[in-house]
Amino acid sequence: MKNILKSFVALLSVLVAFTSCNDTSKKNAGALSGSAAEKVYVNPGEHDEFYAFISGGFSGQLSVYGLPSGRLFKVIPVFSQDAEKAWGYNEETKPMLNTSHGFIPWDDSHHPDISQTNGVIDGRYVFINGNNTPRIAKIDLSVFETTEIIEIPNSAGNHSSAFVTENTEYVVAGTRFSVPVPQKDMPIKDYKGNFKGALTFIAVEPEHGHMDIKFQLIMPGFDYDLSHPGRGKSHGWFFFSTYNTEEASTLMEVNASQNDKDFIAAVNWKKIEEYVNNGGGTMMPANYAHNVYDESTHSATSTMKKEVLTVNPLDVPGAVFLMPTPKSPHGCDVDPSGEYIVGSGKLSANLTVHSFTKMLSAIENKEFAGDAYGIPIINFESSLAGVVEQPGLGPLHTEFDGKGNAYTTFFISSEVVKWKLGTWEVVDRQPCFYSVGHLMIPGGNSQKPFGKYVVAMNKITKDRYLPTGPEVTQSAQLYDISGDKMELLLDFPTVGEPHYAAGCPADLIKPRSKKLFKLEDNNHPYATKTEADAKVVRDGKTVHVYMTTIRSHFAPDNIEGIKVGDKVYFHITNLEQDYDVPHGVSMIGANTSELLIMPGQTETFVWEPKQVGVWPFYCTDFCSALHQEMQGYVRVSPANSNTPLRWSLGEDIE
């Protein structure tokens, strides 16, 4: 990188020197415009053109990068505890990780999707799925924080998620593993015909984005792998790819690959919505957590919900159909016009493209090949728009540039292949290093892609970077797709497994990004809004410390009268009202992480002192020239002592 730049500058100076008194500067730029380094170089202090939200896979988080530079800005904690930001450690965010299985400190985050208005990404929220203990999270892009998590009942391996409809009416969560619905004790071998696959439609309230499960469609016991919404003409439908239509429960790598074709399930959700709004569906007992973070109290609450509305597809005739698609399709991707549904049969040599128009006419003309548990199976040829012949090995996922081209990843042959919608001809291919999974074009899952870059996300890097022992980084690769041929510009390491991503023009988000929380709007029950209100209150063995921070001291900074066996809650309010002045705090021996408190925010950690002594605490986030002075002491006396409870700042405790 540096060398290229250096030689580039050197060359440029020479050229300029030779031609400086003539007007030929523009020609020189043209001759050098092919440089990949130049295309990804963002001047120090300048901003990237796009945000990329890249999931962390098994890290459970969501990373925020800039494109084209590939610079990492933030890792947003979602499903996994994050000691750096006290996510899942402080009292305020612990409820966010509550589930029907109790506190679950980790998940596997896969598919981020940005909210849409009128089929165009609007930059308000990112939704992302937790696979393992099925959950959907919502990240508010005004604060870049997870503000809501809803658990999905009757689901397991929540994988065909979290994709939004074109006005964010719903975020959809399909189960990968079918399970007994409701769960019960039964022999595994009786799977076939008895296990079910729940496809969950979570309504998103338009103004505040609150999530609520509207209904669950209880489908046959297949594996539901990925899904995408219809858009434009197909708005109102949702498409889910399936595998294991064999309904095997063991040695899946063989037994789930027996059928020549599996299905893409087409679900007319508008029809089901209408059915449900008219009182249709069956309320089923359930138990799932709904966790909401409130920005005004800076705290989350977890509510256990006790029932869910289920819909049997056979009760809504004309709402669900199956389109045969060769060999365990993974991607199930709808082009910007809403006409084409691309099935990536991951064990097939070809890509199968269905036509929405042909599907509708096949339904109308009842061109069915049979049914699966009563759900009509459309004739393969009837909905088929075309086939991309032998484009590569192991197709996984397709996105679109809005100019009539599709880009599909091939895991086995490790490449991105560009092909034309309608003619199905392959026009370009570029290798990936190595074993690419998903790819992402900003807005690629919408009516309006920003077809300038594609990011391919790789599972394996082997020799691409300096080795770091047996475990090496995974990576993303950036290609310029503005020309006829794709051009590899950059590869950059990622946090966790970069499973999938969503991208967005920076200008959609930047102006709305919050700089601080207003102290006057802080409704945390333990907020301390001025130093005069700082205090320590004992209630039996529980002690509440109402503490404040400002550059660069804590108030109070001396506390006495704490005893061994106490449970001490430090509620700390950051009194700063300026951009980018968080304070941190940590207490010796506290069985938790630090706190990282944004301006105007209150956060709480718990300390249960076990040893007599005088114990220091300090600020962990470098806040000013006097940061190193930002410290304090707590005196811990024996459990039976009479040391009075006292606190102070700036004077000795007498």
């Binding site: 300029v16 020197a17 400086s20 008194c21 500067s25 130049e38 001047n43 102290l519 000013s624 006097l626």
Partner: protein
């Protein structure tokens, strides 16, 4: 692309200057600088006093407040509001009765212009970087920065009115 263009522009401009035609402008720039240095005078300071005790009633500071004329009569309603805002957002570092993290505001109006006071509240980062007095105060107070509490002009004006009552 942008980088190239910028680099090119700079280099090109540099070379162009060698080709002549730019000298007059250079002179202009120089004389302008000269002017600025001559305008800053007439500050009566007793350098033996610490900056917090020095009196400077000509320096208006740097920030949004360019000129402010105070009414002879103190607006008591504004004072009450100012006292409230001061208590909420300033007392973490400033106490009326004593030097704390920063100086006490008592008597400030005898030492500073109203513009300087409001600019220090509204624009503390630039003030402590560029205003000689604010810079000196930062050093006197051990580098404790004057925090920008993002007050509105109205609130900071009310604080100023409150300061007028502190002797």
């Amino acid at each position: 692309m942008k980088t190239t263009l910028k680099l090119m522009t700079i280099l090109f401009a540099a070379i162009l200057m060698n080709c002549g035609g730019k000298e007059e402008k250079k002179k202009e720039g120089f004389s302008y600088e000269k002017k600025e240095t001559t305008t800053k005078t007439e500050v009566k300071k007793d350098e033996s006093l610490p900056p917090s005790k020095q009196i400077d009633l000509s320096n208006k500071g740097i920030g949004p407040i360019k000129s402010l004329k105070l009414d002879d009569k103190i607006d008591q309603e504004m004072v009450a509001h100012g006292a409230e805002v001061f208590k909420k957002l300033c007392t973490a570092c400033h106490r009326v009765d004593k030097k704390f993290i920063g100086p006490s505001p008592a008597g400030i109006m005898e030492r500073r212009t109203p513009e300087w006071v409001m600019n220090m509240i509204l624009n503390p980062v630039e003030m402590t970087q560029k205003d000689p007095l604010a810079k000196a105060l930062l050093i006197e107070f051990n580098g404790a920065p004057m925090a920008n509490q993002n007050l509105s002009e109205e609130d900071s004006r009310a604080i100023l009115e409150y300061f007028r009552t502190l002797k």
